[in-house]
Symmetry: D2
Subunit: 329 residues, 4 copies
């Protein structure tokens, strides 16, 4: 019941086919803070007490990331379906174990990759899949702000979990090359700014610029296709999604030459539905129908694998003794 | 006398203490196109003819980049001062040779790194040097548009020469690590989009996002300092330079915690003077007074060294057989 | 307890030195909707029942505008201090009666002109008063959106009540000329778009552009002074207040000529404090200390007087038989 | 050959089927300034000398506005076709005389209302005529900047001539009501800021906000239709024309209620063709084919009529002794 937990509790509570029966937190104090907001739920500091309730079908986990795997395994072991906040874990090994446990238990496992439930990003995904943009050349994300410093997560894990999930969903393939570079300024060893580069088998390339130490506030994806280009810009109150009829056309008069085309610009309406509500409802639907969530365990595992790979690259760069200097003349 | 040459000719011609005596181009046709615009100048296809004119004190070179070193050496050998367009050369070896020749000849050598003469970037440099921003943590540049495809230069050399010169000037040190990643979509081996990462001894980091295949048009530098942040945005008709009183302050009530500070935003007036005119005048001043230009030979050499190093990284980055450097014209 | 009432109730309830004792609404249904949100308050459909409670010191009125005067008079007659939503009334006569009643009863009367409590507009007021802008030449407001159509209030009364209160506060004088023009498209006699022009004795001029039938969303005041200019833009997440060092300077070389000056642009930090909370606290402070509120009865009466005058002009403007004032509910 | 004349001369000179034979200016000095730019033309201070040249078919007039009618009449009397800069005259009487003279002489008369030749405004006009916006409710224009003060023209005539021509073209009817209000700050009697309101028989309304004393730079028309809305924004480098699928729909569940619709936003490509070149070519085409120009004499006369009417309203307001004060209570 820290910052994000009450949002999940409130949303699940508001859904007609869900009943918020328990709120679990290690701290009595935290429970007291939310007691009046969820009058229908019982409060406890004992997860076991809640898991023992046979009427509980599903658990929602919004705790510090390193605790995700162990908590998820306990819930699955108790026969509950599990919704766990993003990212699923801080290592591929842990994430795989949870995925396997869910599969063995025949229970639904979903990771809270919220952006995958944003109506605007879904339209972008449909647009890309429809072929209207042509082959996707590259994608880049800018997630910048003057944000909350975190002691336990760097900008890659805190901000990049969003972007990696979106890039993987748009790419529909896994990268063959992951590299990252960054720097920590405010706390040693916790990168405030990280740049990531992903290369995919198909030739697709993705780049992420992540920072919580920036004068601008940007939350944007740009997709450059062979035919058209598109932007999802979450800071725009309207026009969250914009399609640009831009690119290069063959110049038929001069073989091998290209002419820049800068045509119509189009922002289709994006429904105002709250992504968090859509996400919560999707989890309930998947539980009821036994279908794999859009951001199910396997999908969440792929995100962790890429984050881990990027972190490895980040670690390598900083352990390099001197970097490579341009050769002196 | 291609795209850029006439701009230089026009500007030097307009300066009161310069006389445009010769226009040299390999093509008679090109000379014909500009003949009426420079009625006071003689036109020739023979560089030697112009260099033989003892009244000529300085030569201005605006030719394809790979031809810069040989032409500059011929002009210096004839005892002329030399202004050469950016970048100075496509290899550190060639650039060094020109620099050495200028030193030996006691002649002024200046490279046309135009942005170093932009009033707004000079204000940014002064701001950074004044300490008002605090220690500079990192700098990033965005140079994006739907631009002119080039067959002989990739986005790194074509666009990045601008940004590298600015970053080196702001940093006032040379990077100890240079890495780049990119991809070519329109022409094999000619990268349309390139991301560069530079790390400096002092801890300063710089990142460049370069692309001529983008729906947005951006020409922007962001400087993040320990105390304040600043942006130079050349696409803004006003407010080219903006200073943000933003950053994190120590929380004195919670040791080790930080509080985000988001204070005044301030855009000092930037004079409207045309950078090209300032640049041309600066060359004349340096020639007359025998002073080292702001973007003199040594400075131009440092830019080439970094570009070469970035190109090497770009070539290494994948198993592609033929990451092509612009020298391969 | 319609749209706005619960916001007031919640804010007053949250203030440490206020106790929300009663919620009064004519409809039991409406009371039921908010019952759980205000567990400490008693619900009633009888205003008299609440007024009979001697422990009640003040009443907060957020009902349809035409009902404001009668309700305020009843509360004042019962000896309560009164906060009433803007505008105070739909006629100067009614508004005057309430002001007189409050004066006679020795009770505090405050009108909810929310924008007068916006930290950014207060900074703008201080800036104007400090003389930094020079003499104020003119002010204009743009309040545009695609908004909620109202059957009982036109754009002048619904939107313009905000702007008139701000203009009068900045002007610190009353207009000598009020004219308005507009048109109704969606409902006959209810103007969707209204333009207002005010002229003041001092030469100050003000213009308002009000519309709920517009593709843009604007909430902006521009103040043009003899020395500098300033904008308050409530749609900006940052930089709500911006000061432009712009204007015309005497050309001392050509007598009678002027040179445009376009200097620094500066956005001082505006605190994030919620205007509604500040407004509620201000009412409590005024009640406790017996001081005149910033938007007290006299001030609210001046707003009604101008709105009434503008409505008269709107009615006269054409030969339409039925320019309808909002009083005709 | 002041500020604008050379632009016209250069454009006509560049057209393949026009020959610039004479440049006429009362000042030898001015002629000297442009002599080298138009080597094919003869320079004279005598209009009669140029008019006597039988090879001259058409005259282009770009002089102070009050001189337009007399000069146009002289050219027409000499049998020349006439292009005259906007506005045609400063009085309806004068403008009518020129129109009549052109008709009697059987010569083409065109007024340089440049915006009517802007590709983006033509697309807006086609869009409006196509019915896609539904019935046009209202139009408003914002023409603001920190501009050049003029001693001889107020903001209405200097800026508003543009807007009135556009509004009349979009409206395709003449207004039945014209009112204006404004104020002069920099020079007595020369309004720096003017607000205009036009009402048309059909119910269409138009508003203009004109100022050369403003911190913002705006050149924008907004058209609000019953079905959709559109904006022409000349300050946008791209997206000059934008169509908003916005408006109110009948709520079929609640009779008499409306629901706001905020749908797709679409910016069709606007060709980059220079309006001035299109305008010049159009004049030549009309001369050759004997067709009435888009901004022919009659059209220019209608603009003058509206400007004159607005000026009358502006004069009335300032001659009113005290304005009308809100009645004191």
């Amino acid at each position: 019941m820290g910052y994000w937990g009450p949002n999940l509790a409130r949303n699940f509570d508001a859904l007609p086919d869900a009943d918020l029966r328990w709120v679990v937190d290690a701290s009595e104090e935290q429970l007291d803070r939310v007691r009046t907001r969820f009058p229908g739920a019982r409060m406890t500091t004992s997860l076991d007490e809640a898991l023992a309730d046979a009427a509980v079908e599903a658990a929602v986990i919004a705790t510090p990331v390193p605790t995700h795997p162990a908590l998820a395994l306990r819930c699955l072991a108790a026969g509950k379906h599990v919704f766990v906040e993003k990212p699923l874990a801080v290592s591929t090994a842990d994430a795989s174990e949870v995925v396997a446990a869910a599969r063995d238990a025949g229970r639904t496992l979903m990771v809270g990759h919220l952006l995958e439930y944003h109506p605007g990003l879904n339209q972008l995904k449909e647009l890309a899949d429809s072929g209207e943009l042509g082959q996707i050349h590259y994608i880049y994300g800018n997630r910048l702000n003057l944000g909350k410093l975190r002691a336990d997560e760097n900008a890659l894990w805190s901000l990049g979990a969003h972007d990696v999930s979106v890039v993987l969903r748009l790419a529909a393939e896994e990268p063959v090359e992951c590299s990252a570079a960054g720097q920590s300024y405010m706390r040693e060893g916790v990168e405030d700014v990280v740049f990531c580069f992903l290369r995919f088998e198909s030739g697709l390339v993705a780049h992420l610029h992540l920072s919580w130490l920036d004068p601008h506030k940007e939350r944007r994806f740009t997709v450059v296709g062979a035919k058209k280009m598109a932007t999802f810009d979450d800071m725009q109150p309207e026009r969250k999604l914009t399609v640009y009829d831009k690119g290069f056309d063959q110049d038929f008069q001069n073989y091998g030459e290209y002419i820049a085309r800068s045509g119509d610009v189009w922002s289709p309406r994006v429904p105002n539905d709250e992504p968090l509500r859509i996400e919560c409802r999707h989890f309930l639907d998947c539980v009821r129908e036994g279908t794999e969530p859009r951001s199910g365990g396997e999908s969440g595992l792929r995100v962790v694998r890429v984050l881990e790979e990027l972190q490895r690259s980040l670690d390598e760069q900083s352990s390099r003794p001197s970097g490579r200097a341009p050769s002196a003349v």
